[in-house]
């Protein structure tokens, strides 16, 4: 009888909460495969969630391999840092360097982070004690539209909400084609969406500038906020490998093998934080809701900032590129280009849009670093 009980332990331990979490895992896998929403992350996260929520799963716990991975790569922030090296090696900053003014769009579109943080903090007015200021900041960072930054800050400030924060960040990044267009359309006129940008594509950026850029940015950001060095430094290290011209093999490895391997481990490890008792709460619902609003605010403020800038410019910018200041790269730039061509098939604003998009990558890390510096 005892042996039979042992065999049926999993079945006897199954609760409705486990069922819901396994269903959520299924949904994430479905979205990854069928809809191709961030499949590299959502599929491992979904499967990790399933493995974690099988009652008495040996994948978690002191010697569970998911816990071992969590301690080895998330607790000490190693995985997000390695991902940043990979992302840095993938990013070509030339569109930004050709149009440095796009940096300001990358700054403006970080507003959603702070707006979301304020909303999470304000939730305390209705539900006293629901989120601390640190947790509110970790929720706000969903608006960075940048998975590794969300994981980095989330792990430091709100480890118990890591699963919800990461799932929200990656899900909404995948849903950018659905979130951004209606917001951009609501805030711009047809005439504004048809604005052509007088971009001087002929300017070439010297190799010296491309090499100096990651080094200078790391030094300046590091001096201003030393806590930003791991985040910005790893991104820029990856970029330096790419641009230096003598480390092609390392650059390819960082872009492919390193990125793929860490993404694989990162996703499944994040999935292991989606434990039913912690995930199925009002807090998680609020995190998902506020995270969505963070993306909306990012886009809206970016567009409004571009419209504000236009008040002072002779050669107007297409305000849609303001929305590209979020870090969802390169999806956001592609969407805006598509929207521009829908209004005017001969309008080509991809270059400045990509510039704003990579500026958003830097802006999101800077915003995350400032939050870490202020509250760390």
């Amino acid at each position: 009888m005892d042996k039979l009980d042992k065999m049926l332990m999993g079945l006897n331990g199954l609760t409705w909460q486990h069922g819901v979490m396994i269903a959520i895992g299924f949904i994430l896998i479905y979205l990854a495969i069928k809809k191709q929403y961030e499949p590299m992350l959502l599929l491992p996260i979904g499967f990790g969630a399933i493995m974690t929520n099988i009652p008495f799963s040996a994948a978690i716990g002191e010697h569970g391999f998911l816990t071992v991975l969590y301690n080895a790569g998330i607790v000490n922030e190693l995985f997000p840092i390695l991902i940043f090296i990979s992302i840095g090696a993938m990013i070509d900053f030339s569109p930004l360097l050709k149009q440095p003014v796009t940096l300001f769009f990358g700054a403006a579109a970080q507003f959603g982070i702070f707006a979301a943080m304020l909303m999470a903090a304000a939730a305390n007015i209705i539900w006293p004690g629901i989120f601390s200021l640190h947790e509110a900041a970790a929720i706000g960072i969903i608006g960075a539209a940048d998975g590794p930054t969300s994981i980095y800050v989330g792990n430091l400030f709100a480890p118990e909400y890591m699963g919800a924060i990461t799932v929200a960040a990656y899900s909404y990044m995948a849903l950018v084609p659905m979130i951004q267009p209606p917001v951009i359309k609501a805030l711009t006129t047809k005439k504004e969406r048809q604005i052509r940008m007088d971009v001087d594509y002929g300017i070439e950026i010297s190799k010296t500038v491309k090499i100096l850029f990651p080094i200078v940015v790391t030094i300046i950001a590091g001096i201003l906020a030393p806590i930003s060095v791991p985040l910005i430094g790893s991104l820029m290290f990856g970029n330096l490998i790419r641009e230096c011209g003598v480390l092609e093999r390392l650059s390819q490895t960082a872009q492919n093998e390193l990125g793929n391997l860490v993404t694989l481990l990162l996703g499944i490890t994040i999935g292991s934080t989606m434990i039913a008792e912690r995930f199925l709460t009002l807090n998680t619902m609020l995190i998902l809701g506020i995270g969505l609003l963070a993306f909306v605010f990012d886009t809206a403020f970016g567009v409004l900032f571009a419209k504000f800038v236009n008040l002072f410019l002779k050669n107007k910018v297409n305000p849609m590129i303001g929305g590209c200041g979020i870090s969802a790269f390169p999806m956001s730039a592609r969407i805006v280009q598509k929207m521009a061509q829908k209004e005017d098939p001969s309008n080509f604003i991809l270059m400045p849009a990509v510039g704003a998009n990579v500026a958003g990558q830097i802006g999101s890390i800077v915003a995350g670093s400032i939050i870490l510096a202020l509250l760390g």
Binding site: L103, F114, G202
Partner: protein, 44 residues
């Protein structure tokens, strides 16, 4: 209420801080491009 005020404070400093840092990067990029120009490509 303290949390909300704290969040507002972080928001004020944070938004200004992001603009300030990226403005410094803007100046540096402009400076670097001026110091190390490459010229123009044929398709200009």
């Amino acid at each position: 209420m303290d949390i909300v005020l704290g969040a507002l404070e972080v928001m004020g400093i944070g938004v200004s801080g992001v603009f300030l840092v990226l403005a410094i990067f803007f100046i540096l990029v402009k400076l670097m491009i001026r110091l190390f120009p490459e010229g123009r490509s044929d398709n200009s």
